[in-house]
C-alpha cells in the first residue's frame, strides 16, 4: 500500500499547479482513482482558485485619482518647493 491520504497533501498544491515531478504525479493520480475524498479535495481546491481569480480587478476610481493628484502635489511641494513661475 502507498501513503495515507494526509501524506499527499503537501504535494497537492504542486500537483494542482503543475510543478510536481512526474513520478509523484502518477502516484497521486493513481490514488485519486481509488479515493473519493482526495478526488473531491483536489477538484474543490482547483475550483477555489478558479473562483478567486474570477473577478476582474476594477480600474482605479476617478475620485481617488483626483484626490491623489492634489495630495501628491502638496507633498511634492513640501519636499521640493513650489515650482518657480
Amino acid at each position: 500500500m502507498g501513503k495515507k491520504c494526509p501524506e499527499y497533501v503537501s504535494e497537492l498544491n504542486d500537483y494542482l499547479d503543475g510543478t510536481l515531478d512526474e513520478g509523484l504525479c502518477s502516484e497521486i493520480e493513481k490514488h485519486l482513482g481509488t479515493c473519493a475524498n482526495c478526488r473531491i479535495m483536489v477538484d474543490t481546491m482547483r475550483m477555489t482558485v478558479t473562483l478567486c481569480r474570477d473577478g476582474k480587478p476594477e480600474p482605479m476610481p476617478d475620485a481617488l485619482s483626483a484626490r491623489l493628484n492634489g495630495l501628491l502635489k502638496t507633498r511634492w511641494e513640501q519636499k521640493f518647493g513650489k515650482p518657480q513661475p
Binding site: 491520504c5 494526509p6 497533501v9 503537501s10 497537492l12 498544491n13 504542486d14 510543478t19 473519493a36 475524498n37 482526495c38 473531491i40 479535495m41 477538484d43 474543490t44 481546491m45 475550483m47 477555489t48 482558485v49 473562483l51 478567486c52 481569480r53 474570477d54 473577478g55 480587478p57 476594477e58 480600474p59 482605479m60 476610481p61 481617488l64 485619482s65 484626490r67 491623489l68 493628484n69 495630495l71 501628491l72 502635489k73 507633498r75 511634492w76 511641494e77 519636499k79 521640493f80 518647493g81 515650482p83
Partner: protein, 200 residues
C-alpha cells in the same frame, strides 16, 4: 521619454515626470491593493500611502529595478504594515483541513464523504459568490492572504512570492497551501449549507 529619463527628472524635482511614472503603474498598484485589502477603503489608503512614500524615497531609488517593481514592493510593505497591526487569529494546520482531519466536521463515522461542489454557480448567484469570495479572502490572517493573493491573483511564481514576503520557499509554499485549504474549507461549508436549503 523613457523611464530612466523620467526618474532622473523626477529626482530633480519635476512633478510632472513623477506623475507620468505613477500613472503608468497606478492600475497595477490599485489592483494589488484591492486584492490584498479586500475592501475599497483600505485599498485606497494603501495606494495613497504607497505614492506618498514614493515621493519621500524617490532620491533613494537607484534604478536597480524598474520603477514599477520598486513601487510594487513599497505597496506590499504599506499593506503589511497596515494589516499586521490588526488583531488576527491563526488558521488551522494543513492536516486539520484534510479529510479525516479535525476541521470541526464530524469525520468519525465510517464512509464520511466530503461535500462535492463542482458547480458553485448552480448554488449561488455570481454576485453573491463574488461577495463571499472577497470576504473570505479578506478574513484570512494577513500572512496567508498575502501569500495566496501574490501567488494566485497576482500570478507570481512561488520563488518571487518568497522573495517578496522574505520567507523561504518551503515556508511560502506552506502558507499558500494553508490559505487555499482554508478558503476551500469555508467555501465547502457555505455551498453545503446552500445545497441543504435547496434540497429541503
Amino acid at each position: 521619454m523613457n523611464e530612466k529619463e523620467l526618474v532622473k527628472k523626477a529626482q530633480a524635482g519635476d512633478f510632472e515626470a513623477f506623475t507620468d511614472l505613477i500613472n503608468a503603474h497606478k492600475s497595477t498598484i490599485y489592483g494589488l491593493a484591492r486584492r490584498l485589502a479586500g475592501n475599497q477603503e483600505d485599498a485606497e489608503d494603501i495606494v495613497q500611502d504607497t505614492f506618498l512614500k514614493a515621493i519621500d524615497k524617490i532620491d533613494q531609488f537607484r534604478l536597480e529595478s524598474s520603477f514599477g517593481t520598486w513601487l510594487y514592493t513599497i505597496a506590499l510593505n504599506q499593506a503589511r504594515g497596515m494589516f499586521s497591526r490588526r488583531q488576527q487569529t491563526d488558521i488551522r494546520t494543513i492536516e486539520e483541513y484534510l479529510p479525516g482531519g479535525q476541521s470541526g466536521h464530524d469525520h468519525s463515522g465510517d464512509g464520511y464523504q466530503l461535500f462535492d461542489w463542482q458547480n458553485p454557480e448552480s448554488l449561488l448567484e455570481n454576485s453573491q459568490l463574488r461577495e463571499i469570495i472577497d470576504r473570505l479572502i479578506s478574513e484570512l490572517p494577513y500572512k496567508y492572504r498575502e501569500a495566496f493573493v501574490l501567488r494566485y491573483l497576482e500570478e507570481l511564481p512561488v520563488k518571487e512570492v518568497a522573495r517578496q514576503i522574505n520567507e523561504s520557499e518551503a515556508a511560502t509554499k506552506s502558507r499558500i497551501l494553508r490559505a487555499r485549504l482554508a478558503l476551500r474549507d469555508q467555501l465547502s461549508d457555505i455551498f453545503e449549507a446552500e445545497h441543504g436549503q435547496k434540497m429541503s
